[in-house]
Subunit: 340 residues, 3 copies
C-alpha cells in the first residue's frame, strides 16, 4: 500500500529528547533523536554506517552520538568523526541527518525527499506555543495501521459508545453532522453543533459548566497526519457573540497521526484550553482523562487491526457498509490514498 | 489443506453463554454467541457490518448485540436495528446468523452452506441429557491442528505413558485391539478389552472398584469431529449379563473435536457416568482428573505441532512409521481428507 | 544462505548431559542427548519415528530413551527396541544416531554426511583437559545469526565500548592490529599487542597485576565455528623470555560458535588459565565476569539481528562501510560463505 511521504509527521515531544538517545520509527524509517552541544535537536538515521548497529543503543558524548558497538561517533550533521583504528575517515561513513521543526512541545520530522523539506506543508497549530493557552499532551503507540485512527477521528459518533462516561453522551451519536471536503487544500471539515446537550465529565469537571450546554465539534483534518478539533462548550443558549464575556470555554484537541510502520502508529495528542490556564489541577485532570480516552481508542483499534490482518492474510477483502456519518472518513481515505 | 465443512461442530457449552457476548472461532470463522430476550442462544458473525469491529467486544442490550465502536445493534436474526445518524438502515447492513443445536450442555454450530444445515449429521449423544446419567464437561484450547487430536484419541496406547497415574496402566499399551472401519457411515470403531487389569485411579476412586478389573474401551469415531468412548469397568470375571445387578460401571467419554483454525483446535470433553450420579464429590473428582488428562494431551500435542510446523516451513514432509495400533488413526485421516 | 555442514560444532557441555534428556538444535537439526547404561553420551534425532514426537520430552529408562507419547524405546544406536502392540519391530522404525567427540567439558557433534565424520577437522583445544590449566565455561543462546558472532569475535575493538569496565580499555580500540589470512588452512589470525596498557578488572582481580601492563591478544579463528584467543598479560616491559619466572599470566579464551538455526546461535565459551588453577574464588570470578561479557554481546547482537531481519524483510541490502580493523572479519565471512 505505501505510506504518504514528502510530509511532516510528529516524531516526538521536546521533553522526550534529553541526555539519552531516543529511538523512533516513522513510515518504516528508524531514526534516533538527541541534543547536540548547543541543546539543539538532532535526528539521524538510527544505523551506524559501519556494521548497522542501532545508534539509539549508544550514548551521547559531547553532543555527538557514539555507537555502543565499535565506538563510531557522529555529529549533528551525521558526519562520522571517529572510527576505531582510523586516522582518516571516509565520507561514505557519514549518515543521513533529517530535518525537524519544533512547534510548542511537538517535534515534526520531514519524511521523504531529503533535499526538499517543504515548510509550507508544516501545520499551523498556534495554540501549542501561545501563552494564553494551556497545553497538556502525550503519545500512545498503536498496534494498528494509521488509517484506522484517521477513520476513528473523522467519525466522532463513536464517542457515545467507546468513550461513554468520559467525553461521550447520547447527543454525539444522535446529532446530524455537516461535512465539507476541500480536495485542493487536502482538508476535510466535519461539524456537529449540539444544542442543550448533556455536559460530559471531561468538560463539567474542567470548566464547571452544568448541563444543558451547547457543544460544538468542528473538525479540521489535514491529510494525512494532522488533525484539529475545535471545541466550544457554553451554557445552553448563550450567544456566541458574548463568548468573550460569558462562560464559554474553547478547547483545541490536536492529533499528530504518525504512521510508524504499515501496521503501527504513533498517536500524538494535545489538549489546548483557553481557561484556567494556570490551574495545575485542571491540567492534570485533562491530561489524565484524555489519555484514558486515547487508550480506549488504542484498545479498540488494536482489536480491529487483528481482525483486518487476519482477513488480509486469508486473502479476503472485508466488505464494509458506510453511512452518512462516514462521508468525511471516506473522503479522508481517498485523499490519503492519492498521496500514498 | 482445508477443513471439513458442512458439518456440525461443538462451539460452546450452554453455561458459557450468558450476559456477556462469547467469541469463538470455528474452521477459521469468527462468531459471537449471546442470548436474546427470550434466553435463546444466538450465533452471529463476529464482525460489525459497518467497519468490521468485533461484536464480541460489545455488549448485549435488550437481547440485541450492540457494537462497542459506533453502537450498531443486531437482533437474533442478524438484522441491523440501529446505526448512528440513520433513520433508514439498508438491509446490506444485516449480518449472518448461524444455526445452532443444543444437546445437554453442548451447543453445536453448523459450519458450511448456511441454507442447508443437515440435522441428520448431528451426533446422537443421549447421555448428555439423560437423567439417569451424570455429566461433567469442559473445554481446553489446543495450539495444534485438530488432526493431531484425532490421531491421539484413536490410539489409546498412549494412555500408558502420557496419562500414567491417571487413566494409564501397562495393560492399555499391551492389549491387542480390533479395528472396524465403516467407510459408508464415516465411522471407525476401535476396541480393546482388558481382562484382569490394574484399576487406574480415575476408576478406582470414582467407583470403589479394586484391581483386578475387566476394562473395556470401545471407541466410536464419527469423522471429522465427534468421538465417543464406551467404557465398562467391572470386577474381573463378572459376567456382563449380570452388570445390572453387579458392580459394573459404565462411562461414556465424549469429545467434540472442533477445528478453530488450520493449526488450532477446541477440545471439548464430557464424561458421563451411570453410577453415583448425585454424588458431587465423584463429579468434582472426575471433572478435575479428566481435565488434567486433557491438559497432558494439550501439552504433548502443542509440542508436536511446533515440530510439524517447523518441518513444513522447511518444506520437509515428515516420514512416519505406522504400526497395527495405527489402523484406526490412519483410516480416520483418510476419511477426514476425503471430507476436506 | 545455508549453513556450513560436514563440520564439528560444540553441541553441549558434558555436565549438561545427565539423567534427563537434553534437546539441542544445530544447523537446524534437532537432536536429543542422553547417557546410555555405561554413562556414554548418546546423540539421536529428536523425533520419534512413529508420530514425530520429540524424544527429548520423554525420559531415559535403562539407558534407552523412551518416547513419552506411545512409549517407543530407542537404544544408543537409534535402534527401536519396543513399540506398543508389536512383537516384531521393523528396522525402518530405527532413527539416526549421531557421532560426537568429547574434549574436556565440551561435546562436539558432527553435522553433515553421517557416514564420514572427519576426525581431522576436530579442533585441538588441549587446555580443556590439561591438568596444568583451570577451565571455566558456559553457553548463552543468541537470537542472532552466527555470522554476527564471528564478526564480533574477529574485531575486538568493540571491547572498549561494549565491554568497558570488564575487559575493555581505551587501548584496545586504539592499538593497531595485524591480520593474517591462511585460506588453505581456513585460519585467520588477528593480533594486537598493547604496551603499557591499563589493566582491566577481568585481569587485575584475577591475577593481581597492576596497570601498566603489556597485554597481547592473538586470535586464531578456524572457520566456521572454532575460535581461540591467546592472551598474555604481564607487567609492562617484562621480557617474554622471562615469563616462566615472572608474573606473566596466560589465558586462552575459547569459543564454540554453533549455528542453531539460520537466525539463532549457541555461544559456547570457555576461559582457560595457567595461574591460580586451584583457586575457586578466581574461577568463580572469571566465570561470572566472562558470562557478563558474553551477555553484553548477546544483547548487542540480538538487537542487530532485529535490524538486519527487518531490512531483509523489506528487501533492502544494508550497505556497510568497512575499515582496516575489519580485514579479519571480512576474510572470515568469505571463508564461511565458501563453506556454505
Amino acid at each position: 500500500m505505501g505510506l504518504p511521504i514528502n510530509r511532516w509527521y510528529v516524531v516526538a515531544s521536546t521533553d522526550e529528547i534529553g541526555a539519552e538517545p531516543l529511538a523512533r520509527q516513522v513510515c518504516g524509517k528508524r531514526v534516533v533523536l538527541f541534543r547536540d552541544a548547543d541543546g539543539d535537536i538532532v535526528c539521524l538515521d538510527d544505523r551506524c554506517s559501519h556494521r548497522g548497529f542501532p545508534l539509539s543503543a549508544g550514548r551521547v558524548v559531547d553532543g555527538q552520538i557514539q555507537c555502543n558497538y565499535h565506538g563510531l561517533r557522529f555529529d549533528n550533521c551525521g558526519r562520522c568523526t571517529w572510527a576505531p583504528g582510523q586516522d582518516r575517515i571516509p565520507s561514505r561513513a557519514n549518515i543521513v541527518a533529517h530535518t525537524t521543526a519544533v512547534q510548542g512541545p511537538w517535534v515534526w520530522l520531514w519524511v521523504g525527499d531529503l533535499t526538499a523539506p517543504d515548510p509550507g506543508l508544516l501545520p499551523r497549530f498556534p495554540w501549542l506555543d501561545d501563552p494564553d493557552w494551556a497545553v497538556v499532551h502525550g503519545m500512545e503507540p498503536l498496534a494498528a495501521r494509521y488509517g484506522l485512527l484517521v477513520d476513528n477521528l473523522l467519525d466522532l459518533s463513536h464517542e457515545t459508545f467507546l468513550h461513554a462516561g468520559f467525553i461521550g453522551t447520547p447527543e454525539v451519536a444522535e446529532t446530524p453532522i455537516t461535512t465539507e471536503v476541500d480536495e485542493d487544500a487536502g482538508v476535510i471539515r466535519v461539524s456537529r453543533h449540539m444544542e442543550a446537550a448533556e455536559c460530559p465529565p471531561f468538560y463539567s469537571e474542567s470548566t464547571g459548566l452544568q448541563s444543558p450546554i451547547d457543544r460544538w465539534q468542528d473538525i479540521e483534518y489535514h491529510a494525512p497526519g494532522n488533525y484539529l478539533l475545535h471545541i466550544r462548550v457554553a451554557p445552553h443558549g448563550q450567544d456566541p457573540a458574548d463568548d468573550d464575556n460569558g462562560k464559554a470555554a474553547y478547547v483545541k484537541v490536536l492529533y499528530g497521526i504518525t504512521p510508524s510502520t504499515e501496521s503501527t502508529t504513533l498517536d500524538f495528542w494535545a489538549v489546548c484550553r483557553n481557561f484556567a490556564i494556570d490551574d495545575d489541577e485542571v491540567s492534570a485532570f485533562m491530561a489524565k482523562m484524555n489519555r484514558e480516552v486515547v487508550l480506549q481508542d488504542v484498545e479498540a483499534l488494536d482489536q480491529l487491526e487483528v481482525y483486518l490482518a487476519e482477513q488480509e492474510a486469508a486473502g479476503v477483502t472485508p466488505v464494509e457498509v458506510s453511512f452518512k456519518i462516514d462521508t468525511g472518513g471516506l473522503a479522508g481515505r481517498r485523499m490519503v490514498e492519492a498521496m500514498s
